[in-house]
Amino acid sequence: MTSFNFAHIHLLLNHLPTIGFGIGFCLYLAAYFGKNEPLKKTSIVLLFLIALLAIPTYMSGNAAERVLCPERKCPEDVSLNSLRGHEDAALFAFLLMETTGFFAWLALWQLRKKPTIASWNWNVILVLSLASFGLMAAAAAEGGEIRHTEIRVAVQPGTPPEPEYPGIARSIGAVIAGNTGVGWLWPAAEAIHFVGLTLLFVVVLIVDLRVLGMVKALSFPAVYQLLPLGMLGFLLNLITGMMFFLAAPGQYVNNPEFHRKVLFIVLAGFNVLYFMLVDETWIVGPGEDAPVRAKVAAVVAIYLWIGILYYGNMLPFLGNSF
């Protein structure tokens, strides 16, 4: 075993969603009851960031399992059943967390047009983040049981071994992979992945080319309306991408091209946050030039998104998928 591996990365990252989401949620409640607008904004930025970092956290968990239990053979002090339970809780926590992240982004997007967050969205985020936090706590507790044997209930000697638990995440993956005879899910997800890529890419292109000085007749407040379309494209691709990952995790977890792709997605998330939080771009009128900082961010955005496309394309060629 090498001195550093993805089990370490997972152990490092896995505290972020649990603790970070807890902090974000507390800030959210404090802002709600204190009616404090800047604090509200801080809390939704935090929820968005944690949702972003939950992506590598979830995926590194799968890699950690392969380090811990190669070929599904676990060492004696590790329970594969608690590992499956942890994976299931983590999947549901992840899905809710990403949904929360989407609505948090939507709230940020609306904040540029209205002084306060719409109350419906505020309540949606409240319910979603409460549920995500609960599931994340469950996932953390189950995850702790995998290795912290001191908190696991002692098994009486002589009791028969527990039957193997297949796991919900693995069962969903098997259906998507076509193992149960449903052959169209994977190809359909691929087609949607391309449609999502197209939507996302064109919004990135229109916004960033306008920042760089093309199509100056378009005003920024107008271009701003396009952003949810790009986010929709990203959501489609996150959902279909997760379908591939669940169906064939082995194709991805040890593939360096995939690691780079996920890293670039996280960096692109921070790039999005610049455009969401800094006003300088959006006050530029029709025919006017964007500030230099925005131009740098635009070049970085185009580089990152082409990179994400590149690494995805190269998964089977430079990497070791399929």
Binding site: V195, A217, L226, L309, N313
Partner: protein
């Protein structure tokens, strides 16, 4: 069928298919994806705008994005030809491939109609769009999505290389 075999065994086809270089098949495929994003993306953006999305954006300046669309289309015409040539005996016998070509042709005809009927309309950006314009936009979206789906399905339906 002789000429399909000839196409498939030509020098350039063999290079694209068999060269271990990253600049052969992987890069051709990558360019085909980027070209798709540019071409379909720009057209989908215009279609969605006509259908009422992002009403703050004026439509007339969007015509300046058309060179990007044509850049993407040209890249894809070239890379698509290479991708078909390197597997001609299979791809050109697959009805799904011809379905894809029909979808693309339909989408291009609709783009041409959109240019004459929407962009040349003196009332552009002065009121809401006519039902005709919206129908064109919806059809354009449909045909491009169908083309992408048919393209993806080339790896799954009809005769497919590399399977059994």
């Amino acid at each position: 069928m002789e000429y399909l075999k000839w196409l498939e065994e030509s020098g350039i086809s063999t290079f694209v298919r068999e060269s271990p270089s990253i600049f052969a098949f992987p890069t051709v495929l990558l360019l085909h994806t980027i070209g798709m994003a540019l071409c379909v993306g720009v057209n989908a953006g215009i279609d969605l705008r006509i259908l009422g999305f992002a009403p703050g954006i004026r439509v007339a300046p969007l015509e300046k994005l058309l060179p990007i669309l044509w850049l993407g289309f040209t890249v894809n015409a070239i890379t698509g030809t290479l991708l078909v040539m390197q597997d001609a005996t299979t791809k050109l016998r697959n009805p799904d491939f011809y379905a894809k070509m029909v979808f693309i042709a339909a989408a291009l005809i609709i783009l041409k109609m959109t240019r004459t009927r929407v962009f040349r309309d003196p009332m552009l950006d002065k009121g809401s769009f006519s039902t005709n314009a919206k129908v064109l936009a919806a059809l354009s979206l449909f045909f491009w999505m169908a083309a992408i789906t048919a393209g993806r399905l080339l790896a799954y339906v009809g005769p497919v290389s590399g399977l059994g």
